[in-house]
Structures are given as C-alpha cells and as structure tokens.
C-alpha cells in the first residue's frame, strides 16, 4: 500500500480502511472499530456528520451512508465543483446505524455491488421473521441453528432486528463478539449475546449461533451436531449461490444498495457524472450511458466484506 499523509475513511471495512497513512479522519462512531483494526498507535481524528473541514483548497464533510455503524459518504467541494464518494451504502432502514443522507453533487461515486435488476431486497423485518421461524422450527427438533453473517455490521443488524420477535440470548463467535461489544458501547440496542466458550462442552440444541462465514465447514462447526445452517447475504437472492456453499437456508439481507436503490439514489443526488466501483460496475455504466448519463467505471482494489466478496 502506498503511504499517504492523510486518509479519509468512509467506514471501517478493511477494503475501505487500510494501514499506511500518517493520519486518518473518520466519523466518531467508527473510531473505536477503526482503532480495533488499525491499532492504537495510529492518529485518528473524529468528526461528526455534517461537520465542515478545510483541507487544502477544499471543503470536506462526512454524511451518513446507512451501510454500517459510523459509515459515511464523503463530500468534497472545491470552488463550485462538488464530489461525493459514497463508499458502500444502502437505503433500507437499519436500527444499528444512521440512515442514508441524500447529498446533492456534481460527481457521484457509487458502489455497484448488486447492480443487476434481480437484486431487490425484501424488508429486513420480514427477513428477521424468517430467521426467527427457522430458529424456532430447529429448536422444536432440538437442533442448533448456525447463522453465518459477516461479523462487522450484518451480525449486529440481525441481533437488532430480532429484538422485535424475541428477547432470548444468542451465542456468538469470538469475532462477532468483539464487534458486537463495540456496537453496544456506541449505544446500539441488540439481543443479549454470550460469547461461545469452546473449552466447555455443552449441548447447543435449540440455540441460535452467529458466526462469520469463514467458520463454515471448518473444524469449529463439528461441535454443532445436526445443526441447520443459514447464511445472511444479498447473494442469497440467487439459489445457486446458496446450493454451492451447501447452506440449508439463505436469508436475503444486505448492507448494500439493491438495484432500485442504486437507480433512485443516482437520480436523487442529481449528479452530472457517475463513477462506479465494485461488483457489476460495467453493467451500471452501460445502463446509465444508454440513458444519457455521463458514467464511467473506476478500478479499485478487492472488497473485504462478505456481501461484496462473493466473487
């Protein structure tokens, strides 16, 4: 990674927040997560949403992106020219983070992770109900339910959405526990959780266990005999993705914008130029150009979070 003096961070997923800068600026809520990932020695300056910074000959401000806790779009203005880098974003309501803010601009950098018309998300409350029914049905058969979720963002969103349906305790993998604690410290309300202690043997019948996808198929899984497995991701919209990975159930829940949200957002920000990153970048560019919009795909490094990283 090239060294730089200053990095402005949209959110703390590893593909958007890397080592190698002398100084970072990020939204207040994301600083603890950033610290946990980049180490305590780096210099991170916290800002609030909407706070104006003067950097060189530009004015910079951070605006909520609705992706995960502390996620931001970054607005940069120089003279009359306004750019917004959205980072990853979504428009669907999420109890674990502030909602997306429409920031008018001339150039809008949008993600295109799910830029195909098949990606239309069902309401999260309904997905939560499916997850809860699945958990309860497994419990009636004395089976554990192992739900794979990306450990930063998705796991906490599931824990928060499930509060409408139950107050039961959920067991979480260590990687999930760390992030969940940081969310709680930021004041996010979630179901009570207990970190899995793998040294003690116990019966997991009827429990809901949340783990990162990396744990699937590993030795770690063997202790959950007869478990039903599920995976929470936008990619679960397509049956082949679930079948190939061998999950029993796929739950369509994503922290990225779906197809209608992408088009709506591009429309609402009123930009004259669109730059796309991630996923189906070329598809979105082609469609926008056909509609007379000046659009271009940006080449970026590989994504980290699991929704973005299926490929």
């Amino acid at each position: 990674m090239r060294r730089s003096e200053l990095a402005l961070i949209t959110h703390a997923h590893a593909d958007h927040a890397r080592r190698g800068a002398d100084r970072y600026i990020a939204v207040r809520d994301s600083v603890p997560i950033l610290r946990a990932r980049l180490g305590n020695s780096v210099r991170i300056d916290a800002v609030d949403y909407g706070e104006q910074l003067e950097l060189g000959d530009t004015r910079v401000s951070f605006h909520s992106a609705g992706h995960v806790l502390g996620s931001a779009q970054i607005r940069v203005q120089r003279g009359d020219d306004v750019w917004v880098a959205s980072g990853d974003f979504k428009r669907d309501p999420d109890p674990t983070c502030a909602p997306f803010e429409v920031v008018p601009c001339d150039t809008f950098i949008t993600e295109a992770t799910f830029a195909l018309p098949i990606y239309r998300w069902p309401p999260a409350a309904e997905v939560a109900r499916e997850i809860h029914e699945w958990w309860q049905s497994n419990a009636r058969q004395s089976r554990p339910s192992v739900l794979f979720c990306y450990s930063f963002g998705k796991a906490q969103r599931v824990l928060a959405e499930l509060m409408a349906l139950t107050s039961e305790c959920v067991l979480v993998h260590g990687a999930v526990a760390k992030l969940t604690d940081l969310y709680r410290e930021a004041g996010v309300q979630m179901l009570p959780t207990q970190t899995l202690d793998l040294r003690t043997r116990r019966d997991y019948a009827g429990e809901l266990i949340i783990a990162p996808p990396g744990a699937a198929g590993s030795r770690w899984m063997r202790r959950f005999k007869s478990a039903s497995t599920g995976f929470c991701s936008g990619w679960m919209q397509v049956r082949g993705n679930r079948r190939r990975r061998g999950y029993d159930r796929g739950f369509v829940l994503s922290d990225h914008a779906d197809w209608p949200s992408l088009l709506r957002t591009i429309d609402e920000v009123g930009a004259t130029r669109i730059l796309t990153t991630h996923g189906h970048s070329d598809t979105l560019v082609r469609l926008l150009r056909e509609r007379g919009v000046d659009a271009q795909a940006l080449a970026l490094s590989e994504p980290e979070d699991d929704d973005a990283a299926l490929h």
């Binding site: 082949g240 598809t283 490929h311």
Partner: protein, 537 residues
Amino acid sequence: MQRFTELYRELDQTTSTRAKVAAMVDYFLTVDAGDVAWATFFLSGRRVRRLVGAADLRRWLTQASELPEWLVEETYASVGDLAETIALLLSDRQRDRPFDGVSLTDFVTNQLLVLAQLDDEARRQAVLSWWQQLPYDACYLVNKLMTGALRVGVSQTLVATALAEVAQLPRPVILHRMMGDWQPEAAFAEALLAPDDGQVVLSRPYPFALASPLEKQPGELDVSSVEQMLGERAGWQAEWKWDGIRGQLIRREGKTFLWSRGEDLITNQFPEIAKAAESLPDGTVIDGELLAWRDGLPMEFSALQRRIGRKKPGKKTLHDIPVIMRAYDLLEVDGIDIRAQTLRSRRQQLAALASVFPRTFQLSEVIGARSWVQLQALREQSRARRVEGLMLKSLDSDYATGRKRGDWWKWKIEPHTIDAVMLYAQAGHGRRSNLYTDYTFAVWRGDELVPVAKAYSGLSNAEIDTLDKWIRAHTRERFGPVRSVEPLQVFELAFEAIARSSRHKSGVALRFPRIRRWRRDLSADQADSLMTLEQLL
C-alpha cells in the same frame, strides 16, 4: 399445487437426506393418487415435453421486464437458470396464494399441458399471467416445470425410499415399478403403492446393477492391495469392461424392448438387435453392452453415438456401423425373475442360452487368469483390446438394485494424461452459476495454442474459487458468457481415449476429458504439444 410448492420449498431448504424423505412421505400421505403420480414423475427427474421454447421465454421476459435485452441476457448469465431469472425479475415474494384449491394434477393437466394446444399469442398470455400473478416460489416452480427437470437435490432412489415407506414395501420393488415407460396418473400411483403381487408390466426393465470403481487416491492400486480387498481370485468373475452403451434387452410375449441405462427405449435405433432377439425364448431379460463392432474389434465410440442419434437408421448406416450386443448377465428366465440367484448360477444359465444366440449377440468372455498377478498382466493389454479395463464381480453376488458397494468393481486402466493451458472460461449453471467452472484447454502446435478439450471442473471448491478470481483478473476478451484468459495456467488433464476428428481445429477429439490437477508448478511453455497427443493415436 400449493402443497407441491411447499414440498419443493422444504426439499430445497435442507441438505439433510432424512429431512427430504420425511417431507416427501408427508406429502405422499396427504395428497390423492393423481398428485402422487405427478409428484413422483417430476421429483424423479422426468419432464413433460417442451411446451414453450427458451427463445420465446426470453423474448417475453424482456418485454415484460421492460429492461434492455442486453441487461436481461447479462442477468440471465449471472443467475445461470432461466426459470429463476424470470421469477427474480418479474415475481414478488409478497403476492397472495392463487394456487389455493388447485391440485398438482389440475394444474399440470388443465393449465400446463394445455399450452401445447394454444396458438402463440394465447400461449404468451397464459405464461405472462403466471409471471404477473404468482408469488415467487410458485412462479419459479411453474417455470421449472415448463422448461425442464426440477433438480431439487432428490434422486430417483430417494423418491423410491419415501414411496417405499408410504407403501410399506421394500425399496427395490418400488424402484422396479418406477422403471421404464409409465403415465403419471392415479392408476399408476395406485399400482406403485399396491401390495407386491409379482405382476410384471411387459416392457418394464429392471433397475441396472452398477459397479464401484476400484481405486486408490492418489495413484494406482497394486496387485497386493487388490488381493487384500477382494480375497481369493477364485471367488471373482473377471470380464473386460467395454466402452459402449449399457442396455437391457427384454423379450416377453413375442415382443422385444431394448432399454438404455438412462431408461430410454432404444429398440428402434437398433433394428438388427431387435430382429435378432426374436429368436430368444419368451420371458428372457439380458443385461449387456451395445457396441459398434467391426472385424472383431469395437469401433470408436463416436460411431456408436452416430447410431444412437438415428431414430430410424438407414441401410448405409446399418452397414457402415454394425452393432452387437455383448451379454453380461441374465435377469429373467422363462418369465421368472432370477436376480436373487448367485452370479455363478445366472452365468451358467446365460452360457446355456448363448448356445442359441443369434449372430449379433455375443457372450461376454470370462477371463481365465488364475491369479491376481496374471489378471493384472492381462489388464495391461486393455488398450490394445480397446477396452477400459476389467470388471470384477463376486460369484456369490445377486443382481443388485443400483450400486451395492463390495460385490461389483470396475478396475479401469489408468487414463492418458496431458498438461494443457487454459484458454477460455465460461460460467457454469445451477449451483455453479456466478462462477467460472467450464474451461477450454489447449496444447502447443509450434508457437500457437490449439484448443483440444473442454473440461468441467475436477477441482476442489477452494480451487474453483481461487481460479474464478484469477480468471476475472486476467480476462483478455469477453464473448458473451465466455472469457478468453491470459494463457498462463497449466492443468493436467486425464482422458480415456483419443480419436481423429475433422470437427476439431486440432484434428483430434479426446474421450471424457477431465481435470486431474492444477499444475501451478508449470509455466505455459512447459505444457504438452499436439505432437505428443498425435503419438497416442
């Protein structure tokens, strides 16, 4: 239909065999006989004849979605399944349940099959009304029934397991009743589940007995481990393993039926076999192999493929590609099922019958070699004899239903191998959609790489994922769903045989090519040349 949609969902949402059987049992017990028949039909992988062309469906989808055609095509390429693409684009999970009160039989006979009688516009209207009204699961299922097999991770055997539980009958009885030609109607389901009365449907074949591969990973099995696994040589019947079309010939009540292993009736494709079978006694069923045969040797497999492709072969085809039936086993004598007898006993009766065999029937030779060492030495001659290796069957074995591990083994010779360079990649279908899993490989001719084989993955899931990423990062050009990639990755391919072919640019065709391993240790210039391949001809 609502119940069948729910059954589909239950089967699709579990990877547990036990849960799948339980779901089917519950379904079969709660629907009427007509629905049992249709569900058995679809779940066992059968399909109704194509009612609407895929091109029509795609055109209607584009119109109904109001999206540009290229975007629909790109979306379809990403999903990899037309039925699913349509449901994802046009349907909605929130819709009501319009299937209430319509049984599976009602839907199939009064709505689905009726499509064939409609004119183009009426057919389009009918299909569009499903797309626009049905909730997601039902829309997807209807599309599946319209376009092909269900593919819900249920095998014929698993369906039979559930039916056997419902009927309280042994599974082989059910499997036998599910063989061959039958109509999905109530009478069939009633007969399927009725107590065993020994009655046989005239044309119905027996389930084929299958052998397991005798092999060791990695590398070849040596003689001493074969001996360790199988015990005394004297307990085993050894035969050559031929590369033809496995077939079952039925002669009952003056009629002849020839079935392929895929349960296709192929009597008409092989009139010389059917004619010759007239001299067999009534109530005879033979398991054997159809082989294109000339001058005492089998012809290349492609010759047989040409024969199977002709529904009514003409004089010239019959003359150019003569076919014989090599008899392996005898399943029925004088109308009596003898599958439970030992191979020793069945073979004696088969040999006796062979004395009246017509010219196009040959008895499969039993190889005499007294010891495993001698047998192994004979096995080395497989290529010269144009066989795939040996078949080993326990002399005490019955004729099993399906694959019963331990009694029948195929001891194939090691395949040929070459190192070839990946040139093109294409995304797979179904569970492999979204991933580049179908590859084209090339070898060197001078400074040029010429494609010689297409292979679907023989790689592990982890390797597929890694390779997929590599392909995306090293794409040179895209042609629709195909990408050409930088010619850098070398793979060891295994194949069974090689033949000259005017249809391939390389001039050769490989039989059953597959990936052995990813040779990350080799660079492209270390791959094999076409000359190496031609030396195998």
